[in-house]
Symmetry: C2
Subunit: 246 residues, 2 copies
DNA sequence: CGAGCTGTTGACATTGCTCAAATTTCGTGG
DNA sequence: CCACGAAATTTGAGCAATGTCAACAGCTCG
């Protein structure tokens, strides 16, 4: 139960927040599931959300924990992961602002979630959210669509994990990060808030292989590494060719 | 476009069937999404389904193809897969009778589907199905639940692909097949309708490694191999221990 | 300034892959 | 029912990609 970086004496994982948040002023509303809530129903939405800040490295929820809340990410970056009994970890996805997490069919979370950067969460009790889903058709449309997108991403990741080489894995990862970046940067810059360990556990590799592969790509001139958490593509088309042709 | 085993001169992939099927007499109704359709709405359901038989090895639909239909599997076993340009294949799942496939957020299928055994499909035009989903709340509940289950399975498979050894992969696969088998067999028998190649492409291995691992497990006494497509566990608890403790 | 991370690099080990051949299984026709 | 050929599976030998273990470098924070 002890978290490595937990130096706060505060009670954990208890969303504490404004009873009346202004959902209509939310920065990420347009990207989030909330966009499916009509202006007329805004009050209902605002009434059920609370807020929670999570520091880097801190647990949002653990695999197997009873699922009470679903969350929208207001800001920050989150990792989802599953563990084996001996500690091996597979990161199943990275989420960023506007993304939604916590809906499960079972009543326990099927994976753990941790903050990578400082994270602001918009929390909804599942019992309340389910009522909202039942009452507002566009919300369930949106959620069904989102889960189909997630499923497509998961299948793409299975292809990566099962059939790509280390080089292809890293290139695919960098390209997806680039193409999905929120304010799409003009130059070919990609920001990587997560550690090499996180990248390794996402791609089914070791940190050493990730590190060596970064170095190899840099030596080839396919990427530049201004610093550990930044990658730049001098020629992104060359990268796209390399990603699937090798 | 040529399919290896296609020796029929018949037009392909055109569902041909009874205009009025008796959904209430369907063998797999209780397992399928159709169970969420109230008896009163049975006629609506029956009116939009048609049927299609697919021979082993034949394509049901291809990745990227425009998605016209969704399917329920009435009988038989299906593989879903994604391909890389050079032909490497990742099987993302095996489906059996009662399973549902073909709902996508985009308008193209995100993966291909092929019959492993002779397959009977219950076909629904997406335009019709979507109307059904919109009109019948329990149907969308069921579909949302099903997609959450699929997602959980996909994440479990990512853990397998990224972090387990060949031995653990095969044992996990056999145990899941055993535990999810439809009429749960009393003895520890598992039937594997798919080829070694399919198993390899599902587990992110080569056929040789799959074959060698089967042999090794047999030599250890963990499994018996009465024939290529049948596995028996003399002591299933020993298998469960081996699957996650190694 | 030193401790402690995180990331990189090097040397070596190992799992699982490749290529090749033997063997078994299975469908087909006689 | 049996024989034959094709396909699927198994087995063997060698190898390569990636993992393991270890040392080192760079950065941050007290």
């Amino acid at each position: 139960m002890s978290e490595p970086n937990d130096m706060t004496g505060q009670p954990k994982r208890v969303p504490s927040g404004h009873a009346h948040h202004r959902c209509d002023q939310c920065d990420v509303r347009h990207k989030a599931m909330c966009a499916a809530v009509d202006v007329a129903d805004n009050d209902r939405l605002a009434a059920i959300v609370s807020h929670r800040d999570v520091a880097p490295g801190q647990v949002i929820f653990e695999e197997g924990e009873t699922a009470d809340y679903a969350y929208n990410i207001s800001s920050g970056e989150v990792r989802l992961y599953k563990l084996l009994p001996d500690g091996r970890r597979q990161i199943t996805g990275f989420l960023a602002s506007g993304d939604f997490l916590g809906l499960v069919s079972d009543d326990a979370y099927a994976y753990g979630a941790e903050a990578i950067t400082p994270v602001e969460l918009c929390c909804m009790r599942l019992t309340n959210l389910e009522r909202l889903i039942a009452d507002i058709p566009p919300v369930r449309e949106k959620l069904l669509d989102m889960s189909h997108d997630e499923l497509a991403a998961a299948q793409e990741q299975m292809l990566l994990l099962g059939r790509k080489t280390a080089r292809e894995k890293l290139l695919s990862f960098l390209l997806v990060r680039h193409d999905h970046a929120d304010p799409q940067p003009e130059d070919g810059t990609v920001h990587l808030p997560m550690s090499r360990t996180d990248i390794a556990d996402y791609l089914g590799l070791t940190i050493e292989t990730v590190s060596r592969t970064f170095t190899a790509l840099r030596d080839e001139g396919l990427i530049e590494l201004p610093d550990t958490h930044t990658v730049r593509f001098p020629d992104i088309e060359a990268v796209r060719d390399a990603a699937e042709a090798w």
